[in-house]
Amino acid sequence: MTSSATGEKIKRVLMYAFLVIMSFISVFPLYWCFVSAFNTSQEVLGGKLVPGGHLAENIQHLMEQQQVFTALKNSFVNTLLVVVLSLTCCSLAGYGFEIYHDKWKDRVLGILMLSMMVPFVALMVPMFQMFSAMGLLNKYIGFVLPSISTPFLIMLFRSNARAFPKEIIEAARVDGLNEIQIFFRMFVPTMRPTYAAAATITFMNSWNSFLWPRVIMKTNESITMPMLVNNLTTGYIIDYGVVMAGVTICTLPTVIIFFFLQKSFTEAIAGSVK
């Protein structure tokens, strides 16, 4: 064996060792969370790493303490509305900024990007006052409205729209399609991976959204899953088995979505960085 082949082998072993360690660090919290949902509070505190037989008990206590189905329903409806509306709105905007490109639109986009720098907490109080005056507290629409248009999604769609061949648009115009038809018939089907990535990001952000719903959702009937999990940790006595059961239920949808869309997600993110 030559020395370069040995060097290659060592490099490869080190790389795999590094990847294994990093994967372990990433996956272990999830594993611990799922396993702990099967254990009692005392076992969780004792660091038990194998599942026990207390899942049903933990879920039963969770149901007794919190309105789990209401929270799940609210989170799903909120998230679905945000995903559909924000993808429609932001992809149209991203497409427009790229295809009907001129220097003024670039400036508008610059201002939009600048708004990413304003922290949400700075907007929270005036937004609450506005939503309260409009009677939008405790309503789905109150949750959805601020998330419909985000600079990040507009930027993602705009970057990916660069790869969309302009000749197709010219050809479609010659064939008699109007601008809206070109967008829906030509652009949307081609950009499927971008939509999948945007859907994944929006789903995760919206599902895990905590601060805004906490500000505007004031009744038990409008509670969302992250708010429910937070409720479990604020008492004098914390049942860690129940908390982990709550966290598991809250985490599962995002894990499932990510597994289904991860291929498109990586493709589109790589595409937008190009």
């Binding site: 509070s41 005392q42 505190l45 004792g46 303490q65 919190q66 109080v125 609450f128 006052q129 309260s132 005056a133 409009m134 009677g135 507290l137 906490r214 500000v215 004031k218 009744t219 038990n220 509670i223 937070n230 409720n231 604020t234 008492g235 004098y236 006595i237 914390i238 049942d239 860690y240």
Partner: protein
């Protein structure tokens, strides 16, 4: 377009009017509180008891977290619209004065409308501002020192040996207990500052003067408390954990001989079923050489506030429950919420021997609660606590205590705008 705008405006008007009508509805009490196993469960039992004589009154209990209630009060006060608030809301005792001082328009002065006799003086003082009462006391945060009796026996001690002692005596005995059992005697969360506050309140001292000025650098009680605490940490008698969860873990795993904290800590201790019969409580050691030093203090607890602009008479009628011994007796078994209303200690569930602890601990705690000296929390309690916690950590790491406390005082003064 004009038509659409008119419709939208009309709709907003109708919605806001219906919201006002909703808030002013007769025979309905809305309550905001947190913790389904404790405050909410207690209120539900209270609502059932109240419904026996008032079946027509609707009582709606909403789960809202403590910080969210404070945010909602601030938002409502700033917007000048109290209709978004409930009739009754719970407030942490340490925040009560801050909230009343900052948003006086929200809280109803109930001094002449509610009988405060029987409530612990220190407890009622938390919700008192300039001699006026704004809160109805609820659960006790009376401090207990809880010990593993089996570990103490291993070292040749009983809980009686650790009762009515000073911190110096405690340090001597704790050293021996640690040597013989190999376990730290107490555990606490590092950098929280709670223990120092417990110690200084046991002397009737505060981080603020009665005039509201910050009082850290020349406060003898604070200096004595920090010196005692740091010494015990350095000797390994007190184990400092990095997080609250880790601290609860040391109790559950039996890796320490005990803890001292608000009596609500017993809930976490009693959750470890395999340790039944191995625990007992007593009072806490007192600080030597400090005027007014006692064995009693407080940490945590909360009180109920009634919002202005609501049906105050109805809310107060409902809140008479908190002067009812039967109510405290009824909530104790399911919630472990311990009263600050002295007559409750005679209730059957209070005088009964607690199976887990092997003594009538709840009556003992109510008794302790009546001897707790009061302190001043003011509007900058948490700023002062955090500044002091930094001073404690730095002192343990070798800094000079006087200059650290002077620095902490400057930090709080800056926060207060001086």
């Amino acid at each position: 377009m004009k038509k659409l705008l008119a419709v939208l405006l009309a709709l907003t008007l109708v919605l806001s009017m219906s919201a006002v009508a909703f808030a002013a509805e007769d025979g309905k009490i809305t309550i905001w509180t947190w913790d389904p196993n404790f405050n909410i469960a207690s209120m539900k039992i209270g609502a059932d008891m109240y419904h026996v004589d008032h079946p027509d009154v609707e009582i709606e209990i909403q789960e809202v977290q403590s910080e969210d209630i404070e945010t909602a009060v601030a938002q409502a006060a700033v917007a000048g619209d109290l209709s978004t608030l409930p009739d009754i809301m719970l407030c942490q005792d340490n925040s009560f004065q801050k909230m009343v001082i900052n948003y006086p328009e929200v809280y109803t002065d109930i001094t002449d409308k509610y009988d405060f006799e029987g409530f612990g003086e220190a407890k009622a003082a938390y919700s008192t501002v300039e001699g006026r009462h704004y809160g109805i006391p609820f659960d006790a945060g009376t401090v207990v020192a809880a010990y593993r009796t089996d570990y103490l026996a291993e070292a040749g001690y009983t809980v009686a040996d650790l009762t009515d002692i000073t911190w110096t005596e405690f340090a001597e005995k704790a050293k021996e207990i640690k040597e013989k059992t190999g376990k730290p005697v107490f555990c606490t969360q590092a950098g929280s500052g709670d223990w120092i506050l417990i110690m200084i309140q046991s002397c009737g001292a505060s981080m603020f003067t009665e005039e509201g000025a910050v009082n850290l650098k020349d406060n003898e009680a604070i200096k004595a408390a920090i010196t005692v605490y740091a010494d015990l940490v350095k000797q390994g008698i007190i184990l400092e954990t990095n997080s609250w969860d880790e601290m609860i873990g040391t109790l559950a795993n039996g890796s320490v001989c005990g803890t001292f904290n608000g009596c609500w800590i017993l809930g976490s201790i009693m959750a470890t079923a395999d340790q039944s019969g191995k625990w007992d409580i007593t009072n806490l050691p007192s600080l030597e050489g400090i005027e007014g030093a006692t064995h009693y203090s407080n940490n945590g607890g909360s009180s109920w506030a009634i919002t202005q602009g609501t049906d105050v008479d109805l809310a107060l009628d409902f809140m008479q429950l908190y002067r009812n011994v039967d109510f405290y007796n009824a909530i104790l078994p399911t919630t472990s919420a311990i009263a600050t209303f002295a007559p409750a200690k005679e209730a059957p569930n209070y005088t009964a021997v607690n199976e887990f602890m092997g003594s009538p601990v709840f009556a003992t705690i109510v008794e302790y609660g009546m001897s707790v000296p009061s302190n001043i929390t003011g509007a900058y309690y948490y700023d002062a606590r955090n500044a002091m916690a930094t001073a404690i950590t730095n002192y343990i790491n070798g800094a000079d205590l006087d200059s650290e406390l002077a620095q902490a005082e400057d930090t709080v003064n800056f926060a207060m705008g001086f």
